[in-house]
């Protein structure tokens, strides 16, 4: 028995999991056996982590524990049969979309396969949009490295992609005078992670920065580089810029397996036919361990950690100009920064998230206790109340037991690259991860072919106009050019028909009601679509040339209207007599 294996067995025993067996497999450690609860399985996984192995593969069974299978599209066709691409990226989250945009800089045939009907359907639309400063990641980890690099890249990335990005900075608020003793430790960590800006701020300074801050605090540690953006708008922007530069995105396409020969993937099997690729990039989010398994390269396993965020009314953002949290002095959950308050570029305040382990990977229901847990942050600002909540949502983080990203070329499959375990701060890290992955991919390709730069690559994406924030003169000009910008459809968010139409005809267009919400914010406001839904359905029906009955909220089987009424008459082309 190797020394590392001995250490794992010892650690498992110490944690109370003597019945769990551990075996070496290549450079990883595989756990098997049975435990009573899902929490125990996760604990055993962590007990075995960081004992000198490349990864923990946790195959422990939990009798009676229910989990979910990956949701797969119903479509079966041969649309991709026999197609060949230089690079196929699996997964249309922020990571996958950032990668295809980086790859579009090269003269390569690039395809992205996404099993859902849109990009950013899972973790990339289910997070708070924070571009972390890089302070929280453990020094020396990939997380710390990519976070700091990614954060720095965002100013330019967002400028190029036309994505609203703000750097309000993040405050770790001190709830006890003893925190101040920790300031030198905080500074040392910030330095270790390579942050360029960080400072202690006094109580008076905090009060000046956040006039409605909770009165009882003792100053804080401020990280000015922390930012905020819309994670789904960013993901869509990455995808759109990649598409306009030649990359292709295929929705409703799920990878069900690989054919391999001589240590190489020769065939990618999908529900839309079998295709081939020079390089396969595994950016499949919470399912990337499953994709790795298809290539017999599952050297890590993922587990889901759920979190819930609440969205507060648009009027609340003005009271919270910076990102703020007050972590507990001792204890707390070691796997999360514990959540806090963050104002989105649009002006909503987000509260949360919390964190707990879940056996599910795509199950996004919320619970009353989630709201109770995240509401503790409300007291940090005296202007906020529970009545300001307009909605809440859950997301699931894809965690490895090493609590770090997996970004590397496969050691056993010569044309496979893994980009896995990209949980927080994955969004903040995306531009840097994409840059390195593009480097790995082109490095591998260069062994087989000539890789040239794409001379026509244009990094600039012309974003659709958002009229609400514009000065009145520019707004008037736009309306004169396109009167549809003058017809307000969504009253809460002040979104015009023109903006809805734009989103339905973009390079990666909205195809569902939720897709429109992510792009144009219709239905994202305080009435949650109560008023605008009928009008938006009419616009979608006309622009997409489909019946109202075919329009979906999200994905398959999510139709909004089920049938016509008994005396249905189509008035859509009839003229209405105006009263003035």
């Amino acid at each position: 028995m190797s020394k590392n294996l001995k250490n794992v067995v010892k650690a498992l025993k110490k944690a109370g999991f003597g019945g769990v067996s551990a075996q070496e497999w290549r450079k990883s450690i595989v756990l098997s056996g049975q435990v009573k609860t899902w929490e125990d399985k996760i604990k055993a996984g962590y007990a075995a982590a960081r004992k000198g192995y490349k990864g923990v593969v946790n195959d422990i069974e939990v009798p009676g524990s229910v989990t979910d299978a990956m949701s797969v599209p119903q479509v079966r066709d041969k649309a991709l049969e026999g197609r060949h691409f230089d690079v196929v990226v699996i997964g249309g989250g922020v990571t996958g979309c950032a990668i295809i945009r980086e790859l579009a800089r090269f003269d390569l045939k690039v395809a992205l396969l996404e099993k859902e009907e849109d990009v950013a359907r899972h973790a990339s639309s289910r997070n708070d949009g924070m571009i972390h400063d890089g302070f929280a990641a453990s020094p020396g980890t990939k997380k710390a490295h990519y976070n700091v690099r990614g954060n720095a890249a965002y100013t330019q990335v967002c400028k190029e992609l036309g994505v609203d990005f703000k750097r309000p900075g993040s405050m770790i608020l001190f709830g006890h005078p003893l925190y101040r003793l920790a300031v030198p430790i905080l500074i040392a960590r910030a330095r270790k992670n390579g942050l360029s800006e960080y400072r202690f701020v006094s109580q008076t300074q905090v009060n000046a920065m956040v006039p409605n801050v909770v009165p009882k605090h003792f100053g804080g540690f401020f990280l000015p580089s922390a930012g905020i953006l819309s994670p789904f708008k960013l993901t869509i922007a990455f995808a759109e810029n990649a598409v306009t530069n030649g990359a292709q995105v295929f929705f409703h396409t799920v990878v069900s397996g690989f054919d391999r020969e001589h240590g190489k993937i020769i065939k990618i099997k999908t529900n839309r036919g079998d295709l081939s690729a020079g390089i396969v990039v595994n950016a499949a989010g919470i399912w990337s361990d499953k994709i790795a398994a298809h290539a017999d390269d599952r050297f890590f396993s993922l587990h889901g950690r759920k979190g819930v965020d609440a969205i507060l009314d648009l009027k609340t953002g003005q009271y919270q100009p910076i990102i703020m949290a007050m972590p507990p002095l001792v204890g707390g959950n070691k796997h999360t920064k514990g959540g806090g308050l963050i104002t989105t570029p649009e002006g909503n305040l987000l509260v949360g998230p919390n964190a707990y382990e879940t056996p599910f990977r795509e199950e996004y229901s919320t619970r009353p206790e989630d709201i109770e847990q995240i509401m503790v942050h409300l007291h940090l600002n005296t202007k906020l109340s529970k009545a300001d909540i307009i909605t809440y949502f859950a997301g699931i983080r894809a965690c490895t037991y090493e609590e770090d990203f997996v970004i590397e070329a496969s050691e056993t499959v010569e044309n496979l690259v893994h980009v896995a375990g990209i949980q927080s701060p994955g969004l903040a890290s995306a531009p840097a991860i994409a840059e390195d992955v593009a480097g790995i991919v082109t490095g591998l390709l260069k062994k087989k072919m000539d890789v040239k730069r794409n001379e026509r690559f244009n990094p600039v994406r012309k974003a659709n106009p958002e009229l609400k924030g514009l000065d009145l003169k520019t707004r008037a000009e736009l309306i004169r050019k396109n009167p549809a910008y003058g017809r307000i459809v969504c009253r809460c968010e002040e979104i015009s028909e023109g903006e809805v139409i734009d989103a339905l005809h973009s390079p990666v267009p909205a195809t569902t009601l939720d897709g429109l919400k992510r792009r144009a914010r219709v239905g994202a406001g305080r009435c949650q679509g109560g008023f605008c839904t009928p009008r938006v359905l009419e616009i979608m029906s006309k622009e997409m040339d489909v019946s109202m009955l075919e329009i979906k909220k999200k994905g398959e089987n999510s139709e909004i209207l089920l049938e016509e009424t008994k005396g249905h008459v189509d008035y859509s082309n009839k003229k209405i007599k105006k009263t003035a």
Binding site: S71, E362, E363, S365, T366, R367, P368, I371, A387, I389, I390, T391, Y392, F393, K468, L472, K473, R475, A476, E477, I479, A484, Y485, G486, R487, I488, R491, C492, S496, L513, R526, Q528, G529, G530, F531, T533, P534, L537, E538, M548, K552, K553, G555, E556, N557, S558, E559, I560, L561, L562, E563, E564, T565, K566, H568, V569, I576, K578, T579, A580
Partner: protein, 421 residues
Amino acid sequence: MSQDKKWDVIVIGGGPAGMAAAVSAHDSGARVCIIEREERLGGILKQCIHDGFGLVKFEEKLTGPEYAGRFIQMVEERDIPVFLNSFLVELKKQGDDFTLTLVNSTESVFSLSSAAIVLAMGCRERTSKQIFIHGERPAGVINAGLAQYLINIQGYMPTKRCVILGSGDIGLIMARRLTLEGAEVEGVYEVLPEPSGLTRNIVQCLEDYRIPLHLSTTVTKVHGKNRVEGVTVSQVKDFRPVPGTERYIECDALILSVGLIPENDIIEPMRVAMDGKTRGPCVDQNMMTLVDGMFSCGNCLHVNDLVDYVSESGEIAGTHAARYAKSRDRKRELIPLKMSGDLMYVVPQQLDLSTGNQATIYFRSNRIYKKAVLRVFSDGTEHLTEKYRIIKPPEMERVSLDLSKVPPGTREVGIELKGTR
């Protein structure tokens, strides 16, 4: 339409409150216009094809569109200008005047100004998340008012078998409407021990169609990922679900009628004094808010159960907005109308003694009482006493107070309801 001229009164919203306000303002000699964000006048009445409107105002049983039609006719007869499809993006008070910035497709961005404004923006529905419903976010969780629009205006069914949560009037009306359209309404569930809608709606919409009403019961979870597959309901005690009483109901939609919220977001930046109970601005008996020249009426002032009272408050607001525009130098003598006892809320919250007119006071009790006595008094003098045989929160009551009876110099008028259960 010229945008340069100044209006005496601008009415924001062309529903029943706004139209009544505009007609009254016009009849009181004001130059008035209406701004409306939708393509037709009528507000929510356009989709209320059931009858029962106008019993108080017209002594007739009208449908919503018919009731709206009466007012649309009055607006047209008076040639009151209406800016349709025009959306108010900013409201400001500069000096004595109000400036409104609007957007529409023909005039792009334009502004209007006036001496007085009447707020008549109506209300919106409380959503599933505002009452903390949990589960995923599938298609099929919709508000009753939205369901009503989809069915009555667009001609589409959002459900074949549904559960209705909340016994508010729209929910009750929709229970009947859905049944008539061939959908199955499994039941109406109400978290409170008493229904929130009008008794006549309970009888005519539920009992007549044998739709069960489950009181002290609520929906605790929505099931389904992409489309609603079912809901879990639980009995409720002290606002908490009672463990062990859960029941799973298969359905394709959850329709919510869980309360209405006055829409006052446009005045939020102006920091107008608001009533936490009504969620509308505090007003005097002339419907003037505590901002001089700003009037409020209808459902953005407080949520009414009958449209007739919506129009009535619009008439008061319109008449007095016109008067204000003519004689702005008059100073108000505001004193609080202070409520006590078993009241949920009172409108107006202030009385202006300088006008000495009749004040219509709207109020609701905080719960059902078999007997109740309402008193209005000041400095030991009783101005008004009214006895009620049965009084309940869903049914708004109103009394008329002769302000000439309130002596000058009075600091405060009290209003008290004493109920017996």
